[in-house]
Amino acid sequence: MAELNLLEAINQALDQAMANDERVYIIGEDVGQRGGVFRVTDGLHAKYGSKRVIDAPLAESIIIGSSIGAAMYGMRPIAEIQFADFIFPAFNQIISEAARMRYRSNNTWEVPLVIRAPYGGGIHGALYHSQSIEAFFAHIPGLKVVAPSTPYDAKAMLLAAIDDPDPVLFLEHKKCYRLIKGYVPDEHYTVPIGKADIAREGSDVSVITYGMMRHYAVEAAEMLAKEDISVEVVDLRSLVPLDRETILNSVKKTSKVLVLYEDNLFGGYGAEIAAIIAQDGFEHLDAPVQRLAGLDIPAMPYSAPLENEFLPTPSKIADTLRDLVNY
């Protein structure tokens, strides 16, 4: 057991997976000698060599497309997309090919592929190094999408994703990489994909969220605790498959719910959560389902005041929760 940040926890999971299984290899831009632009693959090239830690040409579609072929051949590729914002050249390979392979081949082929993608903003990354991309991918049946927000979960869910026989998009929030620390067991362990986590228990209002927003929600909950408002924070961790039961149990308990996500509001992943609660939790609600999310502008701007204006922050979250509790 050691205290690690999120990035170190992911590095440890990669190292253990490669040590345990010769089929596992890493491919991506700058993942080799450089150890990745965020240093997530640091040390792995030296340990496992250039045949298992592959510096790919700068071309996202072949990074994913070749990984699909290798996965069908029996390998266990882990493909890194350097920034989630750069995943779109590979969009067709992910949604038309990886996600649909099992279904379209009537279960004769499978694609056990993990795609790691650093996402999210608040790190002065501007329009093209800040995006949240989950809504595009969570829409497509056949692809699992996870977004762990703690070092413990990140290691566990990455190992679960590598063991999974289906493709998994593994989203790593960049702001969590070095900011979020926690104790991580040394051994190989997993958290099942598809289970939410109660990040903080409460009784007056629920926040359903994931990624960096989990930490902001907990911060807001701590502020509100001083005002005798008890906030429950549900960290979804897994976006597909979704743990509906934990969401609806929390709604039942508090009767008021805020869906919080960093992506822009319109058509975001949280819209589906709000729809599920409205349809299946209506009789438990004492207030309309609220959403707080990024602004509906093309993407997050660079300059600090503009970036802050885009993002939900702990104080904006606290304000929204106060209004909701007083509804």
Binding site: A59, I62, Y73, Y103
Partner: protein, 324 residues
């Protein structure tokens, strides 16, 4: 002895080509009878595919095909019954259990990889299969096919680029029939031959007459040997003809002149191979009639079998989104 083996192989090639043509023609009949909603043909590509297939090892080498590769499927071991099950979208269809459109071939036991309809997406998969084989030290060769229109796709470029970097055992096989549905080659590319691009990726590019099965076989044999030696990929462009419209939903007379169609018909790969075999004394009228009669039986059997086979049960529609 050597000559006998040659003769056996040449007649087997001829048999596969005629079988592919006959099955294909039957598919169009079934389409016109309203029994098959969609057909997409390999007519005119038989020599290219059979010449390629006979240079490889079925069930050992890997095939990442596209929708025109019926003759390749037959040569690799897919049965006419299996082909017809796919055409009629029956539950037993090995490609997809009736989930995909016809001609989206797949067969796990034969190392034939499933492909989709957006063109060129299969080419990166072939590169990935070859990467897996290279990492494991397996001596397989991966063959992937696409049309000259698809050679415009970014995925094809990205795939060839990576294969060149890693010297992968993959053969990029372009079946150039001159048309991407309605758009002629000169509107697709500024080069005369797709194969001109091979050296740009660091490996040989070869153009062959795709209506000449033996010329294709010879080029493929060299490419297969090169790949198995570990010397890397080859791009082979087989110039063939598309004897039908793009598909059963197309009408090529809206964009091809009668002269163009007439000229193309003189390049029928089966007619020219039959002529060659007769000249060599390997075929005569009686032998041709016997082969055609046998193939007609096979096609009748495949049709009857597939027509009688059950459709998928609607309750299975949600199965296999994820592993079960």
């Amino acid at each position: 002895m050597e000559q006998e083996r040659d003769q056996t192989r040449l007649l087997a090639m001829y048999h596969t080509m005629v079988l592919a043509r006959s099955l294909d023609e039957r598919m169009w009949q079934l389409n016109r009878q309203g029994k098959a909603p969609f057909v997409i043909s390999c007519q005119g590509h038989e020599a290219a595919q059979v010449g390629a297939a006979f240079a490889m090892r079925p069930k050992h080498d890997w095939i990442v095909p596209y929708y025109r590769d019926l003759a390749m499927m037959l040569a690799m071991g897919m049965t006419p019954r299996e082909v017809m099950l796919g055409l009629l979208a029956k539950a037993e269809d090995p490609s997809s259990g009736g989930r995909q459109m016809p001609a989206h071939y797949s067969h796990r036991a034969l190392n034939i990889v499933s492909h989709s309809s957006p063109t060129g997406t299969q080419v990166p998969h072939a590169v990935g299969v070859a990467m897996g084989a290279q990492m494991r030290g397996d001596d397989i060769v991966v063959w992937t096919a696409f049309g000259e229109g698809t050679s415009s796709q970014g995925d094809v470029h990205e795939a060839m680029n990576l294969a060149g970097v890693m010297k992968l055992p993959v053969i990029f096989f372009c079946e150039n029939n001159g048309y991407a549905i309605s758009v002629p080659q000169h509107k697709q590319m500024g080069v005369e031959n797709v194969s001109d691009r091979g050296p740009g990726y660091g490996f040989p590019g070869i153009t062959v007459d795709g209506t000449n099965v033996l010329e294709v076989y010879e080029a493929m044999t060299a490419a297969v040997e090169r790949a198995r030696r570990g010397d890397g990929p080859t791009l082979i462009e087989a110039k063939c003809v598309r004897l039908t419209a793009h598909s059963s939903d197309d009408n090529d007379r809206t964009y091809r002149s009668p002269e163009d169609i007439k000229a193309m018909r003189t390049r029928d790969p089966i007619a020219s191979f039959e002529h060659f075999l007769r000249d060599e004394g390997m075929l005569d009228d009686a032998k041709v009639a016997a082969i055609r009669a046998e193939i007609k039986e096979i096609v009748n059997d495949a049709t009857a079998y597939a027509e009688a086979a059950p459709l998928p049960d609607p309750s299975t529609v949600r199965k296999y989104v994820f592993a079960e």
